[in-house]
């Protein structure tokens, strides 16, 4: 599995993401700059976490209009894998690649802690190799992670098994509807999630619960 990680001005988790990808796939990801207009020939593109453009206007709003995003849209339309984590998830909703929006946390505070995530669906290209219903540890670090969408959109997400991850056992840190932590597009090749699995892949980080996610996501093309 070949991957690329896009860095935007204000991204701060791109190295963590590249480390996690290389650790699990054995292949170093290709770094891409937001002002580039083409993507390398890879299977997976990741929009990493951070505070692109200082979260000005709305989190992810300016980055979602960056020059590289047309190429990301084409890439997604071709059925290749696009993953957005945290600020990357915010960008994917702002770019219209995923429905809904990420609003200010219900408690109004920035949350930086560990939560429990339930793998709520394995009916997509990212979590197909994970165990449905399994609960695992994962760090979160965000101010705008309160997932919101209108009732029809939420119903469509639930009915079509598009909620990939939920905060489990009362650990919802932001007030998101239905404890939603991550969703996919209809085709299951675009995933956005607020938690940071890339920050729990090495014992030095305090655990390796995030590895199962990368092993599952990266196995698709490698297999």
């Amino acid at each position: 599995m070949k991957s690329a990680v896009i860095t935007f001005p204000g991204s701060n988790r791109e190295r963590d993401m590249m480390y996690a990808l290389e650790l699990t796939s054995g292949v170093a990801p290709v770094p891409v700059w937001h002002a580039d207009t083409t993507l390398p020939d890879v299977d997976l593109v990741v929009l990493p976490g951070g505070f692109s453009y200082g979260d000005y206007l709305r989190s992810g709003a300016i980055a979602a209009r960056a020059p590289i995003m047309d190429a990301v849209r084409d890439f997604a339309e071709k059925g290749r894998l696009v993953l957005g984590v945290c600020n990357g998830f915010q960008m994917l909703t702002e770019a219209g690649l995923l429905p809904g929006a990420l609003m200010r946390n219900a408690g109004l505070t920035f949350v930086c802690r560990e939560v429990l995530l339930e793998t709520a669906s394995t009916a997509n290209r990212f979590t197909q190799g994970m165990t449905k219903g399994a609960v695992w540890r994962c760090p979160v670090a965000h101010h705008d992670g309160n997932y919101f969408a209108d009732a029809d959109t939420i119903k469509a997400l639930e009915d079509h098994d598009r909620v990939a991850f939920r905060y489990a056992r009362g650990t919802n840190p932001n007030g998101s509807i239905n404890d939603i932590a991550g969703i996919t597009n209809e085709a299951g090749n675009v995933l956005g999630m607020m938690p940071h699995p890339e920050n729990l892949v090495d014992p030095l980080q305090g655990g390796t619960d995030g590895r199962a996610f990368f092993e599952s996501a990266l196995s698709v093309v490698a297999a």
């Binding site: 429905p99 609003m103 200010r104 219900a106 408690g107 109004l108 309160n146 007030g175």
Partner: protein
């Protein structure tokens, strides 16, 4: 030409910041506040004298960037 764009949250969209401001006003002793909703104002200067054209262009700006129409409404006013 100067224009003012006002972006507000759609009704039904939870506004935690508005709620916090509501609480702050109550704490200051303003007892008559039923609710507060927070929004954004953009003052835009355009190099055109054609109000119709300006409004059309501002609407396009709102749709593409200034507002997130999933959660927000916008209003355009030429000032």
């Amino acid at each position: 030409m100067k224009a003012r764009v006002t972006v507000t949250l759609k009704s039904g969209v939870l506004d935690p910041q508005g709620k916090a401001i509501e609480g702050g006003l109550a704490a200051l002793g303003f007892a008559g506040v039923d609710s507060v909703r927070q929004g954004k104002v953009f003052d835009v200067e355009l190099n055109t004298a054609d109000a119709t054209k300006a409004k059309a262009e501002l609407a396009d700006m709102c749709e593409k960037l200034l507002a997130n129409t999933v959660i927000e409404n916008y209003a355009i006013e030429i000032v």
